[in-house]
Amino acid sequence: MIGLSRPAVLGAAAAAAFAFLAGAASVDGAPRPPIARRTFVWQLPAGFPQPKVPADNPMSDEKVLLGRHLFYDKRLSGNGTFSCASCHQQARGFADTLAHAVGSTGQANRRNSMGLTNVAYSPVLTWANSLQRALESQALVPMFGELPVELGLAGKEKELIARLDGDPRYRRMFARAFPADTGGISLIGITRAIAAFERTLVSGDSPFDRASRGDSAAMTASARRGQQLFFSERLECMHCHGGINFTGTTDYVGKGFAEIEFHNTGLYNVDGKGSYPAGDQGLKDITNRDADMGRFKAPGLRNVAVTAPYMHDGSVRTLDDVVAHYMAGGRTIPDGPFEGVGSANRYKSGFVKGFTLSDGERRDLVAFLVSLTDSTFLTNPRFANPWPDTSGAARGLKKRSGSR
């Protein structure tokens, strides 16, 4: 069952559960009762709540399978060189290792690729955009964004559809994923299938999770000490990195209230008046409110050890450097264009107050963060590239000379 919080959602779930596959006939030619479409079954870790799903995009195995093929397909870029997976790599918690993401045409993004671990639980998407509420519409940003170019598909909608329509595998997968839709391959189908696949990317088998389920040997003693520090009022980490995914920005079925938070953590203070560097000032870039200067979403911390470098702009290299940032209650940049004392940022969150740790405690805190690495998730074949060749199924895409 899918999304039981509202009657409208309940209706959609019922429709999905009782849709029928057409065309079945018994051996003797008499009509056979239609086969009920399988109800989608979430494969969630023990104790995990069910992700919310938009009423107009119920989950199905067929849709997830299609979305997985699209996610890994380089035909989803203007020049056939990039897929979603180019920047969202499974082994890296569906992030990458660059400070700034680089798109299909080589243009650098101002931001660090966000990991997609447990993205289904996030009621607001990307680093700092209070308007971006659904994976379906968020997918349009990398596909069609022009400043910067990511997948580089702006103005190429028809070309994209034609590319996919030329592959009988996609015609089959779309028909199965959207059985009620006779219109063939569509943009709305593409974004819905990718969103459905992304919602299955649930991680909950880290040493921390196994210890929580009673396997006391799963975490090291150092990581357990780090856990105590993480959840202490002395450090205040959990105020912004609490909940099932270690972020305050969380929602799921039965939660009652979606919670959305943005915080300024004192990473910059370029003018002594709280400014972040021009070109990326967080939520202020959307709302143009001074109070939103430097406010970003606290990312979830699951698999954080494999997603370095850190922060919205990849400007912090290691987890130990991240801890140093919060120990100081903000970052001081002594010289250069971004010179400034971040701890004195007037817009800084009240929870970023600074604290002292012994060297041993500092190692323990990092060990706790490392214990959130879920190797089952990072290697799960359910989430891996489904295409037989490693080129990401760019086959059949003719390169147009001079096209970007």
Binding site: L131, Q132, S137, L140, M143, F144, L147, L153, I286, T287
Partner: protein, 235 residues
Amino acid sequence: MGVSHTTIAPSDFRLFVHDVSLIVADGSVVPVTLHDDDPWQADGVALLDFENGSGVCDNGTPEMRDSIVGDVPLTPRQRVTGLRFTLGVPASLNHHDITRQKSPLTLSQMFWAWKTGHKFLRVELSTTASSAVIMHLGSTACAPGPQPGSVSCGSPNRPVITLDGFDVRRDRVVVDIGALFKDLDLESANGGCMSEPDNPVCAPMFAALGLPFGAQTAPGRQAVFRLEHPGATRQ
């Protein structure tokens, strides 16, 4: 074009309009009901498209459009004296998933996925000094509104254009990108303007459109749209 009289090559030129109406002699305003005319018009919004998808415009679409089609219930006694329309996409249609919208609101190049709103006006050109100068007009300073799923924007940036002396049988409307960029130095436009509230490059184009910008108040009249008789120019 511009204060340095720069030679330019236009590479994109598209805009949305809505709330089209005629003003009649007694001062009353008679709304024009825009036809649903796929792919150019739907839900009262019309796309005008002056690029042909070839040459320097090859990122665009081959189809072009220089007219708006609709009905207006005029009586024989009502004499039309003016034309009024709003540049852009109305707020009620501006912040949705474009894969669920009707054409022309499906165009990815006329949408800011990042800001979840449409580009009301997209003009791009190249100069010898700079590879691209762009002018993308759209709503900014946006935040989730009071109703679930709604968005309200502090700077809607939808200029209402009123053109007096409209002869409904003869006149046509000119959209003059020379007037749009008249007070900008295209030699130092630094990439142009995406309606960013803190980008000083935007100021002259906003003034030309009759819009306020930052501390700069809205000028009395816009300069980009004017009426023209076929064969003779008039203001």
